[in-house]
């Protein structure tokens, strides 16, 4: 039996849940384990019920699972809310001096972290360290790695803090070491992998792609990208501009791109609504921009801190008029890192908008992944060279050719003037109402789709290749779907998964050929109407036979997909 251990840390916002979660995730990573950490939090700064789930295994993980082995309860409510998910052999850690559970149960173990923290450090601020120590004690996870972690975090500030924290962790460790857990997680050889969230990976991918200008307005769940990039601005020579609103943000990045640098913005559904006219501007003036759309449940403000895949059709049609765009949807942070590069290169190559569809699940969850390889990142700008510019007698920004991709240069690169106009424009870029030309330039913009389609990679095909049932998904559902396929396969259910991360333009010939092989086509999406499947159906005429959907604001668990598969597919019509 492989290790599959699940720790939940719950409490009120402001109690330091993230600190405990980050410390534990990093400890297990350094101890050679795979972790997958997700968070479920309410849209408030203080109070409410919030929790982190840390799943630990020896095998790669890409999803969470609901059954709990260890519950760290920083408040009473956590015990009540998660009670039904506790395994029979679980442990519940709580501070019995401040929390008084309504029920008696042998799984309840009081760790008086406030008192211990006050006694050792003179302050309950160290209570979370006691809890982390207790967790390590229960699992027999040696504290030597903890010392290193504390050293990195606090050594520069004050060596005393390191010492006090370590004493508190040791006290916690000692309180829990004799609790006789059946599961032991001893630190082994480090895997050399990294632990990273989707937002950080997109930010890192953008930096590696030569990002120079970022503008955004804070909005969950896209704010993580803004935070990450702001912290790296000086190191990598970037301007990070917090805009007065999302309309400004997208017009800022359009201006920055026109002026010659790689530019990106990120937002969520509501902010994207405000950006749509800018999306259309980018389409009209053919200026490359990368836009990250971090989805959360709508309509309107919806559930600000939860997850959904509900904005795909909106992203596809956003902006007045007809113009080409790319849409990508990373499966994991690793995928996000490399896809961000592809989004930038293709935006530059075709002079279009590249949309990256993220969501709260991808943005905020932490994965253990093989260390990214920056050498695989290639920066391709597709601008006219100095020599080409010198040889040009007259420069025409929107000249026609069979690819639809006109020669691009930037202001100041040569003596040539660069004209961009949101009005329909002539070859130079000047406003025109020549209606015959209008048809030519519309065709010029749209003909790009012919070659853009060839840039799109095939989806991942995973499972029984002879299966007559296919599960179709996209984006952040990858980990949960892959594990669901494993569970179904182990139960002799013949299924295969097609998972997409490059969504638009669709590879039509491939899809028609591929999808014609199956009896059952099951759309698996984190939304209420199977939007990606509807786009596929609209383009190919192939309809789904079944749908597995979740739209309560939470991501899929692998087992939930399996259960819904049984209900929606196997029992369908019975």
């Amino acid at each position: 039996m492989n290790l599959d251990y699940n720790i939940v840390i719950g409490g009120k916002a402001g109690q330091g849940l993230q600190t405990i979660s980050d410390a534990l995730s990093k400890l297990f990573l350094r101890g050679g384990y795979e972790v997958f950490t997700s968070q479920d939090y309410m849209s408030r700064v203080r109070g409410g019920h919030n929790y982190f789930m840390i799943r630990i295994s020896e095998l790669p993980l890409g999803a969470q699972q609901p059954k709990i082995d260890l519950l760290i309860s920083l408040d009473q409510e956590t015990i009540d809310i998660h009670w039904s998910d506790l395994k029979p052999e679980a442990f519940i850690f709580y501070d019995g001096e401040s929390i008084h559970p309504a029920r008696e149960d042998k799984r309840l173990k009081s760790i008086p972290w406030d008192r211990v923290a006050s006694a050792i450090g003179g302050n309950t601020i160290y209570a979370n360290t006691v809890a982390v120590g207790a967790c390590c004690g229960l699992l027999n996870f040696d504290l030597s790695l903890m010392a290193g972690l504390l050293q990195e975090a606090f050594a520069k500030k004050d060596p005393k803090i390191v010492e006090t924290n370590l004493k508190c962790a040791t006290a916690g460790y000692d309180l829990a070491k004799n609790l006789k857990s059946k599961v032991m997680i001893k630190p082994g050889k480090t895997s050399g992998k990294m632990y990273i969230t989707g937002s950080e990976a997109i930010g890192l991918g953008a930096i590696a792609s030569g990002l120079k200008f970022y503008s955004g307005y804070p909005m969950t769940p896209s704010t993580g990208i803004l935070n990450f990039l702001a912290g790296k601005a000086d190191d990598f020579g970037m301007v990070i501009e917090q805009a007065e609103d999302e309309i400004a943000a997208i017009n800022l990045v359009a201006g920055a791109s026109y002026a010659g640098v790689r530019a990106m913005t990120a937002t969520s559904g509501g902010g994207f609504c405000l950006m749509t006219e800018g999306v259309s501007l980018i389409g009209c003036i053919e200026t490359p921009v990368v836009l990250v759309l971090g989805q959360r449940p709508g309509p309107s403000t919806g559930l600000p801190t939860r997850t959904e895949q509900g904005d795909l059709e909106f992203a596809l049609s956003a902006g007045q008029g007809e113009f080409p765009r790319f849409i990508f949807a990373p499966r994991t942070p690793e995928d996000a890192f490399y896809l961000t590069q592809k989004a930038f290169n293709l935006a530059d190559k075709y002079q279009v908008l590249s949309l990256i569809m993220s969501d709260q699940h991808l943005a905020d969850s932490g994965w253990t992944l093989a260390k990214f390889d920056p050498d695989k990142i290639k920066i391709e700008r597709y601008l006219l060279t100095e020599q080409e510019l010198a040889e040009l007698k007259e420069y025409r920004r929107y000249d026609l050719n069979e690819t639809g991709i006109s020669p691009r240069t930037i202001p100041g690169a040569s003596r040539h003037l660069v004209i961009a106009d949101s009005d329909e424009h002539d070859r130079q870029g000047h406003i025109t109402e020549d209606l015959q030309w209008r048809e030519e330039i519309v065709k010029k913009r749209l003909i790009k789709y012919k070659s853009m389609r060839e840039e799109i990679s095939r989806p991942v095909k995973y499972g029984d290749s002879a299966a007559k049932t296919v599960l179709i998904g996209w984006g952040s559902t990858y980990g949960a779907m892959k594990e669901a396929v494993d569970i179904l396969t182990a139960k002799n259910r013949k299924v295969v998964m097609l998972h997409f991360n490059e969504l638009w333009p669709l590879p039509l010939e491939y899809l028609e050929r591929e999808l014609s092989q199956y009896d059952n086509i099951v759309a698996v999406e984190n939304n209420a109407t199977a939007q990606f499947m509807r786009i596929v159906s609209g383009q190919t005429g192939i309809l789904p036979t079944h749908k597995i959907l979740r739209f309560n604001g939470q991501p899929f668990y692998p087992q939930l997909i399996v259960d819904l598969y049984k209900k929606e597919v196997l029992d369908y019509g019975h």
């Binding site: 990573l29 350094r30 050399g192 990294m194 632990y195 990273i196 950080e200 890192l204 930096i207 590696a208 030569g210 120079k212 503008s215 790296k232 601005a233 000086d234 190191d235 990598f236 020579g237 970037m238 301007v239 501009e241 805009a243 007065e244 609103d245 309309i247 400004a248 017009n251 800022l252 990045v253 359009a254 201006g255 920055a256 026109y258 002026a259 010659g260 640098v261 530019a263 006219e277 800018g278 501007l281 003036i285 260390k371 990214f372 920056p374 920066i379 930037i410 202001p411 100041g412 003596r415 003037l417 660069v418 004209i419 961009a420 106009d421 949101s422 009005d423 870029g429 000047h430 406003i431």
Partner: protein
């Protein structure tokens, strides 16, 4: 030597007698006198008759969305601060549709010249009230008269500690040209609100109406006196002051970006060798 010929652009589609001609001519003369080549100039505009100006001159052009001239102009200045960035936009775009950008641009103080063609009416959409139309003025839409008092851009700018606040009038071309020259040379955001009659849709604020009321600030006027500037900005109706109302030198936005001390952003390459060190933060 730069000459007038360098700034001859496409043929205009403005009405004969439009105040925009005076602004175009003053701007072209200012650029020639400053000996700036068209490739050193980026015109940014939005939508409306004023925003068509860049096409009727020569330079780099970013003619963007209605009300959104300011954000791309700021970005372009941050990306390449060697460009002289000049915005030409109307009262509707700058003070109405783009009001939020106007406020925050003043706070930031990027080195941009913001020329607002203020004709106190919507021309392109044929005669609706603009934010600067006087209260009580009757239009097709505001049949009982404009219900709200007019927006006072100069007072707002001074209240926000703008670094350069001026008012010009197309009927005073020499003064207007000089204000534009000063604006281009000023390090920071220079707001130049230009009174400009709309001969087709504004039958009230005509050349004659402005001539009867406008007067030049006296030579001994001190534009660094904020309280005095506020008093002047509040003057409207029978007496309308022209000239430099307020001058408040402070660092330009791009001067405060540490990254730009290494030269224009557009010329900087990302040092990708540093990525490996960042990856260690995640291990």
């Amino acid at each position: 030597m730069v000459t007038n010929k360098d700034y001859v652009g496409q043929e205009s589609a403005w009405c004969p007698g439009c105040g925009n001609f005076g602004i175009l001519s003053a701007l072209q003369k200012a650029l020639v006198e400053l000996n700036l080549e068209p490739q050193q100039v980026l015109f940014v505009s939005g939508i409306g008759q004023a925003s068509k100006l860049p096409h009727y001159s020569r330079g780099h052009v970013f003619n963007g969305l209605h009300g959104r001239a300011i954000p791309p102009a700021i970005a372009a200045k941050l990306v390449n601060h060697e460009l002289n960035v000049i915005i030409t936009d109307g009262d509707g775009g700058t003070y109405g549709e783009g009001g939020n950008h106007f406020i925050h641009a003043i706070r930031r103080n990027p080195d941009i010249t913001l020329i607002v063609h203020n004709n106190q009416i919507y021309g392109l959409t044929k005669g609706q009230a603009s934010p600067t139309t006087d209260q009580g003025v009757i239009t097709k839409i505001q049949a009982r008269g404009v219900p709200a008092p007019a927006f006072n851009p100069l007072a707002v700018a001074i209240a926000l500690n703008a670094s350069f606040v001026a008012r010009g009038f197309v009927g005073e071309p020499e003064q207007l040209k000089n204000l534009i020259k000063q604006g281009i040379q000023h390090k920071g955001l220079s707001l130049i609100d230009v009174l400009q009659p709309c001969v087709s849709f504004n039958k009230i604020n005509t050349y004659q109406w402005y001539r009867q009321r406008a007067y030049k600030l006296p030579a001994d006027y001190d534009p660094k006196d904020k309280i005095k500037a506020m008093e002047k900005a509040a003057e409207w109706g029978e007496h309308i002051p022209l000239g430099m109302l307020y001058l408040n030198p402070r660092p330009a936005y791009e001067e405060q970006q540490p990254v730009l001390r290494n030269g224009p952003l557009v010329k900087q390459k990302t040092d990708t060798t540093k990525i490996a060190a960042i990856l260690e933060e995640f291990c």
